[in-house]
């Protein structure tokens, strides 16, 4: 290992040395220099290029958004999707720190860290999505409380801080900063509660962004209850995300997770999946009527696809108690839920305004640059997580 004290002086060098010490995670067998990592780095560089291009030449030159289609892939996927993918953290944190359900403690750190990267992804993407990135902080000092977006912005900042606080013990531990560690421990329960409140609001607020569009959003998705549907689907997504990454990290980093944890998570998917299904169906029946599911062409198809992939199939897969004991079944079901909810966010963010926008003669398909930025952001989140898994003690109670 490189000794940083020779380069950065004893104080900083020592801290760096401690941070980069990966003895505790050796058993996970994480290698940094793999082809996969190189692909990730390549994608991140691509995104960095797009970000630079976008700042210099503007949104018109880099994206296909237009006056009738002002929000595109970045909002729908990176922001709506990224935040939904992060829902697992507050649920697990709440279960462990507030409800004292100790069995989930072994996955708490990983899911909080995952959420941190999910939100970071959303925050970075929206920074490049707004046309005046350099003043994206304006809402923080220019309050406008009628705006759901203002509320989202405020929450995004507060929640990122909360997630950083919740993750900080991992770093302090390594540095051996006991005073800081104690301080964080003391406020932990409060921080977690704050995080739970923020998350509940944040998840539903993203849906509430669309409340003001009764005449633009397709009736397949528009509903007075869209904030609550966003929340419930995020909870469903949260359970899936946590079980997905628990199983995945178990496979890749070879560490074991207690089966009863996964079983609990699978139950959560079934419960919230069924609730979500009822809400979605109720909206269509009380709104445009079930007939619209057959007559609205492409949009009906997208609605059915989203429901089949993200809700019906996974809930059916996990409905039986015995199937909830099978790790492979849980794995598949989790992936389906994740894809389904992401598709829902894309539907709301991109496709649901299509009939309105087409009516006035406009069309949208993301540009190459929009795809490149999104891909790079995903790569960034994966790589960030991997680095943290190597250098931080992510799975404290397992393995050794």
């Amino acid at each position: 290992m490189i000794d940083f004290t020779t380069y950065a002086g004893p104080k900083i060098g020592n801290a760096l040395n401690k941070l980069l010490d990966d003895r505790h995670s050796r058993h996970l067998g994480i290698k940094m220099d793999t082809p996969f990592t190189r692909v990730l780095v390549f994608l991140i560089l691509g995104a960095a290029f797009v970000a630079g291009y976008r700042v210099i030449f503007g949104l018109g030159a880099s994206t296909n958004m237009n006056d009738y289609w002002p929000w595109g892939l970045w909002i729908a996927f990176d922001v709506l999707g990224g935040v939904a993918m992060a829902a697992g953290a507050f649920m697990i944190a709440g279960a462990v720190y507030i409800l004292n359900l100790k069995k989930y403690k072994c996955i708490a750190r990983a899911s909080i860290l995952n959420a941190f990267f999910g939100y970071l992804l959303a925050a970075i993407s929206i920074t490049f999505d707004v046309g005046r990135s350099a003043v994206i902080w304006h809402p923080l000092i220019m309050w406008q409380i009628n705006s759901v977006m203002f509320i989202v912005a405020l929450h995004l900042v507060l929640y990122l801080t909360t997630l950083a606080t919740e993750s900080s013990p991992m770093v302090f531990e390594k540095l051996g900063w006991h005073r800081a560690l104690n301080a964080v421990h003391r406020i932990m329960v409060g921080a977690v509660m704050f995080g739970v409140a923020l998350s509940l609001l944040h998840q539903s607020s993203l849906g509430a962004n669309y409340l003001i569009l009764p005449s633009k959003l397709s009736p397949l998705w528009y509903s007075k209850h869209i904030p609550y549907m966003f929340l419930v689907s995020a909870l469903m997504m949260g359970f899936s995300m946590v079980s997905f990454e628990t199983i995945l990290t178990g496979k890749v980093f070879n560490h074991q997770v207690p089966k009863n944890v996964l079983e609990g998570l699978a139950k959560g998917i079934v419960f919230f999946g069924s609730l979500y299904f009822a809400m979605k169906l109720g909206t269509v029946i009380s709104g445009p009527g079930l007939g619209v599911l057959l007559h609205d062409g492409f949009l009906s198809f997208m609605w059915l696809l989203e429901m089949a992939v993200g809700v019906v199939i996974p809930v059916m897969l996990l409905a039986k108690t015995s199937s909830r004991k099978n790790i492979e079944t849980i794995f598949v079901a989790s992936i389906l839920v994740i894809l389904g909810v992401l598709l829902n966010r894309l539907n709301v963010g991109v496709f649901a305004v299509s009939s309105y926008a087409n009516h006035v003669g406009s069309d949208y398909f993301p540009s190459i640059m929009e795809f490149v930025l999104t891909a790079g952001m995903i790569a960034f989140a994966i790589l960030g997580f991997k680095v943290c898994a190597k250098y931080l003690n992510l799975f404290p109670d397992t393995g050794h």
Binding site: G60, M65, K102, A108, D129, G131, P139, G190, M193, K216
Partner: protein, 360 residues
């Protein structure tokens, strides 16, 4: 345990109450009432001859300091935004933002706006059907219509703007834009039910552009340029209460009645005398999206002219307010509920294991 549980619980409950009470609620809701001195336009499509004098003058009269099309260079714009201050630039623009590249063969010759855009705040479009012969006839006829910001009484664009860059003047009711505040998120574009705000997509420091009812001219004692330069009285400027009466009067009159239509402003001395046309379904703007300060009359129904028929007749910001008003309660609920759950579950745990309250 490092701090006593009682102390902790007290602290949490206390801060939750402060949080919930600290968020101003009732006064912050957007008004759904017409402001006391609200002004607006009445556009009567049956008088419009499609001369586009309103468009030409809209563009030139707004390309002066204070106007809705006026813009500094990128650098001063960025600096003003970063320092959170209004622009104080007074140099004249080189030229109004003409759109000379919108149709083939017109490289740099004349201003040929095809639609509202970052450079066009007001546009006259034509409706055509069949032979197009008869003016104001839905079949085999033609008609003109005007698109611009309608200055909603309860504007969706204002309610959604995160840094409050779009503002409704509490007196005149004009919905205007403070460029330095804007972050360029385009939520206003999405939220406006009439799809009015436009964005400078090609600029690295883009602004939102929409009609601001010549607010800068009103401050000088003048009024909206499109009304002042309309030769026929198709567009007139006035107090909203007066314009509503005028529109209702015209709408109620028997087609063919000879009437003195005021020109330029509602209380103008000059009039244009001609028969009243047969108006279509409704006076546009009385109730649409909760009511707008600009009103429109037409002999061809607004749906045929392309106006969305799904816009509710109630104020849109109310839809979000119902949600936002609940937020303080969520904080209160989570803190109170969470604290009690925490207290209960930790006590249970304490009886069992002794690994108490230190988690990480």
């Amino acid at each position: 345990m490092t701090i006593s549980r009682r102390g902790f619980l007290k602290g949490v409950t206390g801060s939750a109450v402060v949080l919930a009470a600290g968020i101003p609620s009732v006064e912050a809701k957007m008004s759904t009432e017409l402001p006391s001195e609200a002004v607006g336009l009445l556009y009567d499509a049956t008088l419009c001859v499609g001369c586009k004098s309103c468009m030409v003058n809209c563009k030139t009269k707004n390309s002066v300091p204070g106007g809705a099309l006026y813009k500094d260079g990128v650098v001063p714009g960025v600096v003003d935004s970063l320092l959170c201050r209004k622009s104080d630039k007074t140099e004249a623009m080189k030229s109004p933002p003409y759109e000379t590249k919108t149709i083939a063969g017109n490289e740099g010759i004349w201003d040929a706006s095809q639609d509202l855009s970052g450079d066009t705040l007001n546009i006259i479009k034509a409706y055509r059907n069949g032979t197009g012969e008869m003016k104001d006839s839905p079949t085999n006829g033609h008609a003109f219509f005007k698109q611009q910001c309608l200055h909603c009484i309860s504007p969706a664009c204002v309610s959604v703007c995160p840094p409050g860059a779009l503002i409704k003047d509490p007196k005149s009711g004009i919905v205007y834009y403070d460029a330095y505040r804007c972050i360029g998120c385009r939520y206003c574009q999405l939220a406006c039910p009439f799809n009015i705000p436009r964005y400078e997509w090609s600029s690295p420091w883009p602004e939102i552009r929409k009609c601001q009812l010549c607010r800068h001219r009103i401050a000088e004692g003048k009024y909206a340029a499109c009304a002042e330069y309309c030769p026929t009285g198709a567009t007139i400027f006035g107090k909203v209460t007066d314009l509503r009466e005028e529109a209702k009067k015209r709408f109620a009159m028997k087609p063919g009645t000879i009437y003195d239509f005021p020109v330029q402003t509602f209380d103008s001395k000059s009039t244009s005398t001609r028969p009243v046309a047969a108006y279509a379904d409704k006076i546009y703007g009385l109730t649409d999206a909760g009511g707008t300060q600009n009103l429109m009359l037409s002999a061809v129904s607004f749906e045929l002219l392309g106006f969305s028929k799904d816009i509710p007749a109630s104020a849109l910001p109310d839809l979000t307010w119902a949600y936002i008003a609940k937020i303080p309660w969520v904080f209160l609920g989570v803190f109170l509920g969470g604290t009690s759950l925490y207290a209960i579950t930790s006590r249970k745990n304490k009886n069992g294991t002794d690994k108490g309250d230190h988690h990480d």
